[in-house]
Assembly symmetry: C2
Homo-oligomer: 204 residues x 2
């Protein structure tokens, strides 16, 4: 699960679908996180991505494990309100199961239940979590020291702080507003990719 | 799928859960149709029903095929916004798949896709479909003549019109407000059971 995860913004349009299709070589995973859409709408979005050659194993579906299964996507991302990790791993053993966690205790519980990776945040102040206190990189470092699962950091991650996040032991970064709110999303994504690869490669 | 199907009202409480658990011998199937609840909440409701000895194969889950699968319920009820019947049958072959249809064309399509039964309505004016034109028993009869799947009739079905619905070829009836809005739901359900069994048995 290492790398750059782009999370959809809940109001994915034609334009954004096209952006993902055209730029998948700069991304490692794309998460369809469209909470207000129906199963059929999410399945259609997955179909359209796969029709434009986005590899199905790099598409992660938020919450709707049934959609991930019938569309043979790479995995499902579970939240506190989703089916349990244990249930999903037992009944859909071929799916990668990610769990969204907000504390070390939740991370340890998810690891014990059999999650394949964790999404932890939010790390920095973020537009999508306005008002809530960010966890910070020290808490991220403590978490990565205490779990053996891959940890993807989320929340307020910009090219200027990618090095901090990876130095704290994260295996990947998840981005939302850093791309969707960018004036030039392609340029922004290229910049993320460039910085991520340089830090991972030990250049920075 | 023959018999009496009770559909949850979207705001299932402790009291109603208890009602189902205590009266399952009067019902053939119970549908968890709680559209605003999360996967975890629906799974918890299914667990609680099974904890009170409601047979899992007589529990049908609306839309959330993943919940039906992990909780090993009898089936899943699909609507126009759900995953396709073909996808669900291919990937969850052990689940009974019901489709909610509103016309003969939709019924024929559902049959061709491999549905196990149809839920058709609304037949009579109904509190939950106020304003929309009911389909009527003539259309029900036309539908049952043209499909070979079991058809469960829904919408405004009362003890006074059960005989019309079954005479039109329906294999079962689905009830919502006839129970949930009844002054004495146990008495109402007993009355439905009595009438249904008498009509089916050729007594009436």
């Amino acid at each position: 699960m290492q790398g750059i995860h782009l999370i959809s913004n809940g109001r994915l349009t034609e334009k954004e679908l096209d952006f993902v299709a055209r730029n998948m070589e700069l991304l490692d995973f794309f998460h369809l996180r469209e909470k207000k859409k129906t199963a059929q709408e999410i399945a259609d979005l997955a179909d359209r991505l796969m029709d434009t050659d986005v590899p199905r194993e790099r598409i992660i579906i938020n919450d709707r494990v049934d959609v991930a299964h019938v569309k043979r996507c790479g995995g499902a991302q579970l939240a506190y309100h989703s089916l349990t990790i244990a249930n999903v791993k037992a009944c859909f053993p071929h799916l990668l199961v990610g769990k969204s966690v907000h504390s070390l205790a939740e991370a340890l519980d998810a690891e014990q239940q059999g999650a394949d990776y964790l999404l932890y945040g939010h790390i920095f102040p973020s537009n999508s979590k306005r008002g809530a206190e960010p966890r910070g990189v020290a808490a991220l470092a403590e978490l990565t020291r205490n779990v053996s699962l891959p940890v993807i950091a989320i929340g307020g991650i910009h090219t200027s702080n990618v090095h901090q996040v990876l130095a704290a032991g994260a295996n990947g970064i998840a981005i939302m507003s850093g791309i969707w709110d960018a004036e030039d999303p392609v340029k922004a994504l290229k910049h993320y990719r460039d910085v991520f690869d340089k830090v991972e490669g030990g250049v920075v």
